[in-house]
Amino acid sequence: MKGSLTSRRWAMTMTAYALPFLLCAVLLPHVGPSTQRLAGPYATGSAEAEEFIFHSLRLPRVILALVAGGSLAIVGACFQVILRNPLAEPYTLGVTGGAAVGAVLVISVRRLQFGWGPFSTVQLFALAGAGISVLLIYRLARRPQGISMSVLLLAGVTISILCGGLVLFIRYIADPHSLLSMDRWLMGGISPIGLGELLPIVPFVVVGLGILLPQMPALNHLALGEGIAMGHGVDVPRVQRMVFIGGSLLTAGVVSLTGPIGFVGLIVPHAVRRVSGFDHRVVVPASFLAGGAFLALCDTVGRTVLPLLVERISEAQQTPVGVLTALIGAPIFIRILIGRRR
């Protein structure tokens, strides 16, 4: 926004974004109705039950929300730059479409239930589906000089539509009893049981972030065009490839566990840019911190406030967090848009 970015201003901005993220991490696991209000076996109020709810339900849930929201937002921030399209989001490049086909397919074939280590069956198939669509799109967009961003965008959108059709078709022919679990997956949700369920996505998140984060200084140059970025000394094909690979890994890992959660990856990066300017050395990490905090807050509202308002939803049930991200996020973003115009 103001002058060029100094290390001091960068550190201050990062601190400002990290604080709410850390507050969410520390406080939100403690938020929720006490066990006395619950029905069934947990209605004991015993320390043991409280302990279980904290360590096996709320803590992993908040951690997953922070990581998933952060990952989706950071991928959105990077994809919007390399595709030079403000509507790009983590799901633009077909990763999620492939994952959905894999997940829905395996849910429809109910006898096909096997896990592998910490991976669930659905997760394995979602990852496989994501992998197949990413490889397909990459092959389509590959050119001798690098990957063509316009083909990448078109191929991604086409594969997503194809996958959407496949999902509908599978739903149409599937056993009606499996439809509910399909919808649950397709709506996206954050409900891990135990920290162990988070293990499978650790390598995806670590490697994905490890690939994405070093690219952030180059993204500013790409936002002025591929030609001038080359001129400034950016290895453009390499940056584009790295962002595509890193972003796909992150998205696939997160989506395989949570299903598609909308809105975060699209809007959070724009909100961050509105507030903190367009320097992607700030935007990229800040999107992670803001996206994580935002999703964790939405999910907390979903499991605490919403059950009070809507009788049918209890804490034990999965909250459609994707609904909440849109319902809470859209007004916030509209407020930011209005605030800027003045």
Binding site: S4, A223, G231, G233
Partner: protein
């Protein structure tokens, strides 16, 4: 090393050829050498290969045959950052997706000199300030690009290229779409840089600006270099009429004595 390399040529293209994959058009064995303190214009009709030649010179494309040398060494043996420290390239298609401030854009030019997150040090800030001053964009320093006119924005992009501290400048139609004031101002700026020792190559459609400000012209047609020489040797009615397929009149600028081109009112 032969005589050619002994000269101050810091960027040389020897018989470079290139095609875009699909059959038909190709750039055929073009050679060009630019030395320090020189200002060379590449001119020619639309589709004659001017921009392609410039992209080959900047290392954006790799020639299918022939060789591009930077300070005597193969250009493609350098990585992009090393190239950018010597060679500044301003392409035609700069479109800002995000509304960066002038200072941010110029600071981006320091990229090849910085590592890590690329925060500017004292020296870098001085360079940025100097480049803003040199391109007369200092007054806009804190403004977003969207507040600037086309001519001002073009000077900001030039400033960001200059912040790389290059010895060679390659500019692709930097004054297209600018009014006469901004065109002349931009070319005077380039001439000043050349006089300070920069090797400048500029692709332009404006034959008069090329004639008035450049010491040497390369005329291209249909993927080949057809003529190279001083303005008086190239800006001739017979040559231009043939290459452009349009009869033109060439007059003499009474002040500089340099040739200037006019289209014929009725085409004959």
């Amino acid at each position: 090393m032969d005589r050619q390399a002994m000269r101050d040529d810091i960027l040389t293209l020897e018989n470079v050829s290139f095609s875009y994959g699909d059959a038909g058009w190709r750039l055929r064995e073009v050679s060009l050498a630019v030395g320090t303190g020189e200002m060379v214009a590449v001119i020619g009709p639309n589709g004659s290969g001017k921009s392609t030649l410039l992209k080959l010179a900047a290392g954006v494309f790799r020639p299918h045959s022939g060789r591009v040398s930077l300070q005597g060494k193969n250009l493609h043996a350098f990585d992009r950052r090393s190239i950018a420290r010597v060679l500044g390239y301003l392409p035609q298609d700069v479109h800002y997706t995000f509304d960066y401030t002038v200072e941010e854009v110029v600071a981006m030019g320091r990229f090849p000199h910085l590592s890590g997150l690329g925060f500017l040090g004292r020296k870098d800030l001085d360079v940025v300030e100097r480049c803003l001053a040199a391109t007369e964009t200092l007054p806009f320093k804190g403004q977003p690009l969207s507040h600037l006119s086309g001519g001002e924005r073009q000077r900001v992009y030039l400033a960001s290229i200059l912040a790389q501290e290059p010895h060679i400048l390659l500019l692709d139609e930097p004054t297209a779409g600018l009014d006469i004031h901004h065109q002349a101002r931009f070319f005077r700026l380039l001439r000043g840089l050349a006089r300070e020792g920069m090797a400048v190559t500029v692709v332009t459609h404006d034959l008069n600006l090329a004639s008035l400000y450049c010491s040497r012209l390369l005329l291209m047609s249909d993927g080949a270099a057809v003529r190279e020489g001083m303005p008086a040797e190239i800006i001739r009615p017979d040559i231009l009429s043939e290459i452009y397929g349009e009869p033109v009149a060439v007059e003499r600028d009474p002040r500089s004595g340099l040739p200037i081109v006019l289209p014929l009112l009725n085409g004959v």
